[in-house]
Symmetry: C2
Subunit: 251 residues, 2 copies
DNA sequence: TTCCAGAGTGTAGCATGCGACGTGTGACGT
DNA sequence: ACGTCACACGTCGCATGCTACACTCTGGAA
């Protein structure tokens, strides 16, 4: 776990980020039990900021307090993933539509930056690249969500993505390669910058829906028990009636 | 502010509910500044559980910590209401659709109970009735959200409704009377119990959209400066293409 | 050998001590 | 009369003391 630097930010916030990152990076095994004393000693702070950070993480569903026992690191279950992707589809698709109409130069610059970062990733180190990819992917989406003008929506999506990353699951390198995913994002970028709101929304919808299908099938396969997932009912709430090519162009 | 009872639940949680309710009930004036010492003395607890409760409230946007100054009670702004109603439309309409398909007997019983409570309300005491109405309204919606099977969605909607209630705004008795609102909910109830998912979703959409329009116009009028609100872009993401009567039947 | 009981260990939950800092106030100089 | 500065007060942020309780492990009895 990373040490706490000595700069001027709330200690509790720094501890929050440290523990959150440690969970996402898999340094804290889901299901394992820890104590506030342990975290406090590890991070060289007192129990108070640790407790405050853990309360936030418990609210987000990443850990659970067990009275007089410790703090349990929670695993993001398949059902959690279903909830997460349902919410992402319901929120990110309309937000992309809205963002396109409100996009300004600085948004475009940031989105381009995130896109380039995504393109420059190469699967040299398989382990770290997957994590890096999740990070870049998150940056790309965050720019769009913020541009939608709904701050609460952007924050909520952020917490959902954190939970998704706890699972550590990525389709990259498993059912899709870097280039496929890059192409998805390039589609979205081009439609947004072209001012094609309906097209951008449709591209985002296809991107998330494809990721959800592949990821749910892939993760469910890991545990053997694979109940069928049905996200198709979401179709009618994600503007399947907008004028966009049914099959988005692929190279 | 209500005192803390001596039963067995986390003190911090009880303090959270006390302060949240106090804000919603308007006992804590938005914009006013308070201290943790003040809350602790008032509720006869130490500063620790007070601080933990306030952290949660700050996360939800109901209060703000001002370092070495105190805790500021925040006002839900018009822009906040826009964000809230956008999210409610994007989430509650699909959730209603989904809930209809998964409704079980116990859900139906609870929904009926909430509906009856709504019907029995009468504007005898104008002040408390408005609050009671908001509470019953929240219960009705919560049953449906839980029945949708997405716990995160239900929780998120709950926090949004809390923020909405901070504003204390209700259309009841201003631009609509009790009977109109009851009719809205009766429509939703009947379509859900009839298994008409698309119809229930459409009814929920109309209900929320109408409330949003009236409330935003009404609240914006209070302060004089009334920028135009445009929630119409949400139409295509709330299943305007489902087979449902354009004008829902009214008695 | 098995079951039960009781003490020990470690934990969260809450109370409290303490330091740093922003703010307001009052005195002093001009 | 007005501007400036220093001091005192109140507050958060963090550290630490303390208590009740859940679990475990051991020892003895059946």
């Amino acid at each position: 776990m990373k040490e706490i630097p000595a700069d001027r930010e709330s200690l509790a916030d720094q501890v929050y980020e440290s523990i959150r990152d440690a969970i996402i990076l898999g340094e804290l095994i889901p299901g394992s039990l820890h104590s506030m004393y342990h975290f406090a000693a590890e991070l060289h702070v007192s129990r108070t900021p640790v407790r405050e950070a853990l309360i936030k993480l418990a609210d987000q569903g990443m850990v659970r307090f067990e009275r007089n026992r410790g703090i349990r690191i929670l695993l993001t279950t398949i059902h959690d993933l279903e909830e997460i992707f349902s919410l992402r589809l319901l929120l990110e698709v309309p937000a992309t539509f809205r963002a396109t109409d409100q996009f300004v130069a600085s948004d475009r610059r940031q989105l381009r930056q995130a896109l380039d970062a995504l393109n420059e990733l190469r699967p040299e180190d398989p382990k770290s690249s997957a994590r890096d990819h999740l990070e870049c992917d998150a940056r790309f989406h965050r720019v769009i969500m913020k541009a939608s003008g709904n701050q609460r929506l952007a924050n909520f999506i952020d917490t959902l993505r954190d939970l998704q990353q706890v699972r550590g699951a990525s389709t990259v390198g498993v059912t899709r390669d870097f280039q496929d995913v890059y192409q998805d994002h390039l589609d979205i970028y081009e439609r947004i910058t072209a001012g094609d709101a309906a097209g951008a929304a449709a591209a985002m919808k296809n991107h998330i829906a494809l990721t959800a299908r592949l990821l749910l099938a892939q993760e469910a396969g890991d545990v053997g028990s694979a109940p069928r997932f049905d996200l198709s009912w979401l179709d009618m709430f994600t503007a399947n009636n907008v004028s966009a090519p049914q099959a988005p162009p692929r190279l």
